[in-house]
């Protein structure tokens, strides 16, 4: 048994009558990589904040290195070596790497003057500790997210971190960067530094964790050695129910119909090259590839936001030119953007307003004004259809949970009655239960005869939801998988990363 670094005993916390955490205990060994998983609202964030001394628990105690801290403050937690790296990384974008790493030392040492030599030395030492080579004088803003993350990790080392808590560190980086991050975590482990890793992505949890603590509705379901868990079991423990994955069966008769949307030789310099494919009504076509493979750029081209340099697009066999989202909408193409908060929703507006915004013209009554009855009917119709849980259609969009927000964006576009619906990362940042619900909705839409193009970099999601899959790499379509259900995750993974020995699809 490893030596214990941190022990949280019987932690409970409630906010305004809602029990966020109920008698949760957590033990983290020295140098251990521990995963904390749970759905949104399961109490993960509250737990992190309590360990970090940011939030005070109602009851329970925190023991660090054998010493009890009945009244743990943020500053005590930092002194004891607990470092939290929040999702936003808390970096200063306009300062250099060196200064970002050393900044906390100004506070720590209570100095008033800057010794630039020290600043560089501190930063160089911290980066050396994780064997990273990032230019010290680079402005952080100019670094890709994965590198910024490493800067944040290096910064935590300057404060003698013994436990680094990473809040969903893999949500914004590519698969390769995830590998790299894992290697860094391994190096931390060698130095006896523990990691508490919070993640939504199940496959990662298995890869990295020695122990997995699962939270559900503020209670701890248990601690499990990662080796004992699999996808299905973890999902069950997190949600409390079995989620069935049945591959989508594309109707045989519809498969004979002419394609609804066809693309021939579509190219845009530096983004995608010579892309040809087609999609039929009722199909769910998966489009996958690494971040930067050109999949989102391609989707934007189909929606008129990123006009191609050459190539042709056909709707119903007729050549069309899609120069703007207006045209796309008129042709019956809908697009659910990757970033639903900034691109997909008017978060300050009501749910109802969000639903009707795309179809205001259809709601016009006498005098060319919006007919309140028509509007209400539409709003309630879609809220019911997609089971958007809210107090009323007048509640503001930001008050909704992630899953409900995503359904609202769906409702907004479905109101336009698209014939081709492109969904870019429809389940990013959504917990498993809502996720499977959204998959259900997508299948329902396809069954109604909408052609779906679903972009995702989650291999299991693609395989479970789609009937056919296209793989993009470096701007080209490298593989078409006609029957998704007959493909394994490993096979698809290899194709996507292009790392296969046999060069699949080349």
């Amino acid at each position: 048994m490893k030596e214990t670094f941190l022990e949280a005993r019987n932690i409970s916390k409630s906010y305004e009558g809602v029990q966020a955490l109920n008698d949760v205990s957590l033990t983290i060994g020295k140098g251990e990589v521990h995963c904390l998983v749970g759905e949104n609202g399961s109490g993960k964030s509250t737990m992190i904040k309590i360990i970090g001394g940011v939030v005070e628990p109602d009851s329970g105690s925190i023991v660090i290195n054998g010493k009890a801290h009945p009244n743990l403050q943020a500053i005590d937690a930092i002194r004891e070596g607990i470092q939290i790296i929040y999702q936003d990384l808390s970096l200063i974008p306009n300062l250099t790497v060196a200064e970002n790493i050393s900044l906390n030392q100004y506070v720590e040492r209570k100095v008033n003057f800057v010794n630039w030599k020290d600043v560089h030395q501190i930063a160089a030492r911290a980066l050396a500790a994780i064997e990273e080579d990032i230019p010290l004088d680079e402005i952080v803003e100019n670094l890709p997210v994965a590198k910024r993350q490493l800067v944040a990790i290096a910064r935590s080392l300057t404060q003698n971190a013994r436990l680094i808590i990473m809040d969903e560190p893999t949500s914004a980086i590519t698969r390769e960067d995830v590998e790299h991050l894992f290697a860094v975590i391994a190096r931390l482990k060698e130095r006896g530094i523990s990691t508490l890793f919070i993640s939504h992505k199940l496959s990662e949890v298995f890869r990295i964790a020695e122990a997995v603590a699962i939270l559900r509705d503020g209670r701890k379901v248990g601690d499990f050695p990662a080796a004992e868990l699999d996808d299905r079991k973890l999902t069950f423990l997190m949600t409390g129910r079995e989620i069935q994955y049945t591959p989508y069966q594309f109707d045989g008769a519809k498969a004979e119909a002419p394609p609804l949307l066809e693309v021939r030789g579509l190219s845009r310099r530096g983004q995608f090259q010579d892309v040809s494919f087609s999609v039929r009504a009722g199909e769910i076509l998966g489009l996958t590839g690494l971040i930067g493979s050109g999949r989102t750029e391609l989707a934007l081209a189909l929606f008129g936001l990123n006009p191609p340099d050459s190539g042709e697009i056909f709707m119903n066999g007729k050549s069309v030119r899609i120069g703007s989202p207006e045209v796309a909408k008129r042709l019956g193409i809908g697009y659910l953007p990757e970033d639903r908060l900034t691109q997909g929703l008017f978060v300050g507006q009501s749910i109802g307003d969000n639903i009707v915004i795309t179809v205001l013209k259809k709601l016009l009554g006498a005098l060319g004004l919006i007919d309140p009855m028509k509007r209400k009917k539409l709003e309630n119709g879609w809220m019911g259809e997609l089971a958007i849980k809210a107090t009323s259609a007048r509640a503001r969009a930001f008050s909704l949970s992630g899953g409900n927000q995503q359904r609202l964006v769906l409702a907004k576009w479905l109101a336009t009655e698209p014939r081709v619906f492109i969904l870019d990362g429809p389940t990013i940042g959504i917990d498993i239960a809502s996720k499977s619900n959204i998959h259900e909705i997508i299948r329902g839409l396809a069954q109604r005869g909408i052609a779906i193009i679903m972009i995702s970099d989650e291999i299991p999601e693609i395989l479970h939801t789609c009937n056919r899959v296209l793989v993009m790499r470096e701007g080209r379509l490298v593989k078409e998988i006609p029957n998704a259900s007959a493909t394994t995750e490993e096979e698809l993974n290899t194709i996507v990363s292009g790392k296969a020995g046999n060069g699949a699809g080349q």
Partner: protein
């Protein structure tokens, strides 16, 4: 790291040189030592204001109250000196500085206590300070005859003098030394004090600064008091140069010119980036523009036009760069 900013300043310098060359062709008298000294003399005040504005801008704030602080500090100080009969420059500076710092503290108080957007706070205090002065101190202009000698003497003090052809002399004003002192002190603060680094950091990510455990309130008090102090110094310099104190001077003329100069100097209107060198070059450019458009055969109304244009273009460039940076990040993340 600095290459982008340096490039920005390099181009600005280039524009200044080309523009100066153009003026010199039209009027050879432009490029004379005397005219250069004169340019320094007349732009010192604007430069001091610009430095204060720049420091606030760096921190992610926007302080538009400085013209009011400058004129109020000037007008009150002049009146107090007349009323008390104390004809002493050091006293004038101390009194003005106290007023400037106090006004800065008022700004900082509202900004840090109530988290009101800095632009709104300073827009309001600008009117409060100036309005209160007009009501309680007065509106009467003070002419050269009434003005205490300390100011007049100060305005005519030279570091050194050179002879003109006709036997008279012209010189480099002592204000140049004060300006250089302010530039050096500000540079030292921004570069070598933790306070200065926090000012930069605040403009980048205020939330992260708070999480790191810095005292933001203290930093904000420093920033706005420093801007207030600089504005009050400008107030004294201004009256010393023109030997006349009018309760409505500065307030209507300096605001946009200073903003234009700082923006032209490459400081981001959203905070966090910019250099003192850029700010000083921006002031040089605006000052030349201010004085010499007429020489190029353009009416003085063009000046207003150009100042507005510079602000719009300068700010647009910042935003375009921001968007470009976003794309670049995306491109990099592919490797």
């Amino acid at each position: 790291m600095n290459s982008i900013f340096r490039r920005n300043e390099f181009y600005l310098l280039l524009v200044i040189i080309v523009f100066s060359a153009a003026i010199t062709i039209v009027n050879p008298a432009f490029l004379t030592v005397e005219n250069m000294f004169d340019l320094i003399r007349s732009s010192t005040g604007m430069c001091i204001l610009a430095i204060g504005f720049f420091v606030v801008l760096l921190s992610g704030g926007l302080d538009v109250s400085f013209p009011a602080v400058a004129i109020v500090a000037q007008y009150i100080t002049v009146n107090v000196l007349i009323a008390t009969g104390v004809d002493n420059l050091a006293f004038a500076f101390l009194l003005a500085a106290a007023i400037g710092i106090a006004f800065g503290a008022v700004n900082a108080f509202f900004i840090s206590m109530f988290r009101i957007p800095t632009f709104i706070v300073t827009l309001a205090t600008m009117n409060i300070f100036h309005g209160a002065m007009l009501e309680f101190v007065g509106t009467k202009a003070i002419n050269a005859g009434q003005l205490p000698n300390a100011f007049k003497g100060f305005g005519l003090t030279y570091l050194f003098s050179l002879p003109r052809g006709d036997g008279t002399y012209y010189g480099l004003t002592v204000l140049a030394a004060i300006l250089v002192g302010i530039i050096i002190i500000t540079w030292l603060i921004l570069r070598f004090t933790v306070m200065g680094r926090v000012i930069y950091a605040l403009g980048g990510n205020a939330e992260a600064v708070k999480r790191a455990g810095f005292n933001i309130t203290r930093t904000q008090f420093f920033i706005y008091c420093y801007a207030g102090l600089l504005a009050s110094i400008m107030g004294i310099i201004h009256v010393s140069l023109i030997r006349y104190s009018n309760a409505t001077y500065i307030i209507n003329t300096e605001l946009l010119h200073v903003i234009a100069a700082v923006v032209l100097g490459g400081a981001s209107i959203m905070g966090g980036t910019g250099t003192l060198t850029g700010t000083v070059l921006g002031v040089v450019m605006i000052s030349i523009l201010e004085k010499n458009l007429v020489l190029l055969g353009l009416s003085s109304y063009w000046q207003q036009f150009f100042v507005g244009l510079i602000i719009v273009l300068g700010v647009s460039i910042t935003f375009v760069q921001k968007r470009f940076q976003g794309r670049r990040t995306f491109a990099l993340s592919r490797d």
